[in-house]
Amino acid sequence: MDRVGGWKDGVVLAVVLPALVLLGGCRLEDRETRPDPPVAQALGQVALMPNGIGGSPPEVYAALGRPYRESAFHLSQGKRLYEWFGCQACHADGQGGSGPSLIDGWWNYGPDLPTLYTTIHDGRPGGMPAFRDRMTRDQIWQLAAYVQAMGAYTGSLAAPGRSDRPQTRPAENRLPAASAPLR
């Protein structure tokens, strides 16, 4: 009976299984805080359609592994920037005010990332200011991704949780935003 189980099992189970995770895994929640300057430069190369709506992201974005939309870290940074750069003044917590709502499912210029990036970077007619001189490109990507996550129809595992502030709507990770009840 001593040949059955015991020490070896314990060691094998505790060592081999995490190692398997490592084999199949990658760096799932990497927190890249410093894009290399050439990368940061290239992040600005958004090719937009002539009407200013829709386009393709810069090539470097794919090379980076599409970090902004899928990384919880970048999204939470985007959420911080949303507050820091006064987006709430016009858009509230996404419900909109003097600016359009970001969670009602209606996008004046389309919900794709390059468009959102351009909207923030260059501004839009009707009051949306340009942030190209106030934020770095990396930051604009983070903010654009956060805005997209906030208004997305499908919930995302990377979406931020509620803030430590008075609540005005369910947090981004709760429900697809458009179906979230407003109050």
Partner: protein, 200 residues
């Protein structure tokens, strides 16, 4: 080492009942764990209440109706529950079968009424800390009703199989009944907390 037989155990019963049964002690230990959990959750409720300038926070006190209904149902269920325990002690299979079916009903009814009780809280868990505390307190207790109810269902089913006529089954029924008493008794302080404190 040389051995010398000094005690003969041959005549002992083949399983213990009541305090001579291991499952009885296990049930008591788990009740201690869960009782601590309830006590802590009530402390959380009272602690948050003591910090808030007004309690409940931006919500009316919960409506009396459904919660009181649940309380009455739970208290009423104690009668068949105690009877069931006695029948099990007397190893009366027919009555135990009937008792388990009654208890299955008496367990399901408050669970159904619980749905209205949650709505009668008049606050959502994500409204504020008061809402979070009452939902968690009520949720924790509902989980206990639910698990004990499942156990009752399984025991009831078991009692209609060939495994039924066995002193161990009757012991299980008794332990289940004891646990239901615990679920009912822990509800009383929670009820007092949820419905009394906001009206003080």
């Amino acid at each position: 080492m040389k051995q010398d037989v000094v005690v003969d155990l041959s005549d002992l019963p083949m399983n213990g009942s009541g305090t001579a049964s291991l499952t009885w002690w296990g049930t008591v230990a788990f009740m201690l764990i869960e009782g601590t959990g309830f006590a802590l959750m009530i402390s959380v409720y009272l602690y948050l209440g003591s910090l808030a300038p007004a309690w409940p926070i931006e919500a009316p006190p919960p409506e009396w109706g459904p919660g009181t209904g649940v309380t009455l149902l739970l208290l009423a269920s104690l009668v068949p529950n105690v009877l069931l325990s006695r029948w099990a002690a007397a190893r009366d299979l027919r009555k135990v079968r009937a008792g388990l079916l009654i208890m299955a009903v008496f367990g399901t009814a408050p669970l159904v009424l619980r749905v209205w009780e949650f709505m009668a809280l008049d606050v959502s868990w994500d409204s504020n800390a008061y809402g979070s505390a009452v939902w968690m307190l009520l949720g924790l207790h509902t989980t206990h009703i639910l698990t004990d109810l499942l156990e009752t269902y399984v025991l009831a089913a078991l009692m209609f199989t060939r495994h039924a006529d066995n002193p161990r089954r009757f012991g299980d029924v008794q332990d289940g009944a004891m646990y239901w008493n615990f679920v009912v008794l822990t509800w009383l302080p929670i009820y007092a907390c949820l419905y009394g404190i906001p009206r003080l």
